[in-house]
Amino acid sequence: MGHTAISVRGLTKSFKDKEVLKGVDFEVGRGEIFALLGSNGAGKTTTVNILSTLVKPDGGEAEICGFDVQRQPEQVRRSISLTGQFAAIDGMLTGRENLIMIAKLRGVPHPVQTAGSLLDRFSLKEAANRRADKYSGGMKRRLDIAMSLIGTPAVIFLDEPTTGLDPEARIEVWNTVKELAGGGTAIVLTTQYLEEAEQLADRIGILHGGTLIKTGTLSELKKMFPPAKVEYIEKQPTLEDIFLEIIGNKEEK
């Protein structure tokens, strides 16, 4: 086990004759946030699905907390939680009922108390007894992430956790992710946004053409890229800053 939470070596996967992953390698340590950055169809979801035992790889090795994803899926499932690309909640249930259901399925000792404290922590207390399909996009995502925390898994996968969220909701999610990593959870998150990776990740892997073409910390990656691209990275947050500034000003008035 040791310090490594996830280790992936030479992972390959094809769908029919389409080669999606052609040999992906990376490691993630405990308490580390690793961002998989890639455009649409790069294979981010496929990678996450293989690591969370949903999809079988064609080749390569993947271990979570020392357990092999193919040979020891039961142990792997005890160590992980998946927050998929779309909020996986039951819209017919209330937020509280969603949390209690997962807590019971995970077999945590006090499902009701667990649900209550998560509702507090994710500012969902007021909406706790409303049906989840009536929630806003941001609330749904918060509930979704809260559901993934039950049972305190050692590794959490977040597949595009902020896609479709407004900037404020996005920052809320970012804060949650940082907090989790601070508590020792290893986090793999996929994103199409450079600034999201920049904001959150300890290390970033750029998935392109079926392999991780670059892996490293933000400053390492910045050194590798030609200046023009670094400029692009720096432009994104400014737009967002302006947007937030405008929103903030409105609320002050």
């Binding site: 035992t53 998929g84 779309f86 259901m101 399925l105 077999g107």
Partner: protein, 249 residues
């Protein structure tokens, strides 16, 4: 130990209690058919038995179950599409419990629909002198029939690409009773149609339920009926398990 099937069943019972309209929606069409056949066509149909409603009810119940089963596909399809299925699959629970929860939910919701239809039939003059044991046997046949179709529904719910696709397969099932002994005796049908009608599952199921409810006997066709239901159930179960495994990579 915790029982995931129970937890998941509880979850879906909530869904059903919160949308009682689905039970009503499912019951409406069979009830309309029952009204139509009893009060419009019924006068002209010679079954040679008591009131036509008595003759009609078993077939109507099968139609009610066949249309209710579309919701089983739909609920499963929704779970797959919403990502809830993926969440359950990545949790340390027995994977098949997710499917069992859907099948058992189907059993409960269809039982409720059947009850509603029977209540309406009672108002329309349906009567049976069957004792409790015969009623239980009839309920048993309907239960096995429901389970068979529910496992069939699991296959379509897992493999469908669209919501329409998930529910479309129930249409032929709803149609089958029309070419059976459900509405009129098969003796009046032309040779080829009659041959089909007498050798498809609905006829034996309908005849067995009639025997139980009105003649107080188990009838000669109950074994054929059970063989059909259990056969369909076993085949669907294994195909569903395969589809489930396949879908998981």
């Amino acid at each position: 130990m915790r029982n995931p099937t129970g937890v998941l069943l509880g979850r879906m019972m909530r869904t059903i209690l919160r949308s009682p309209d689905t039970i009503i929606t499912v019951a409406i069409t069979p009830i309309m058919m029952m009204l139509l056949f009893v009060y419009v066509f019924g006068g002209a149909i010679q079954t040679g038995t008591g009131p036509y409603i008595n003759y009609l009810l078993p077939g109507i119940l099968l139609i009610a179950i066949a249309s209710g089963i579309a919701y089983t596909s739909l609920r499963l399809f929704t779970d797959v599409k919403s990502g809830l299925m993926a969440r359950f699959m990545t949790m340390p629970i027995k994977r098949s419990s997710v499917l069992w929860a859907h099948v058992l939910t189907s059993l409960v919701s269809n039982a409720l629909t059947v009850l509603v239809v029977i209540l309406v039939a009672l108002v329309m003059g349906f009567r049976s002198h069957a004792d409790l044991l015969h009623w239980l046997a009839a309920a048993g046949i309907l239960g096995v029939f429901t389970m068979a179709l529910a496992w069939l529904a699991v296959i379509t719910g897992l493999t469908a690409r669209s919501m329409e696709g998930a529910t479309a397969y129930s249409y032929p099932l709803i149609f089958l009773p029309f070419i059976s002994s459900a509405f009129v005796p098969t003796e009046t049908m032309p040779q080829i149609v009659r041959a089909f009608a007498e050798h498809q599952p609905v006829t034996s199921i309908v005849n067995s339920i009639r025997a139980l409810l009105y003649e107080g006997t188990v009838g000669s066709e109950i074994w054929t009926a059970l063989a059909w239901c259990i056969g369909i159930m076993i085949v669907s179960y294994f195909v569903a398990r395969r589809a489930f495994k396949h879908q998981l990579g």
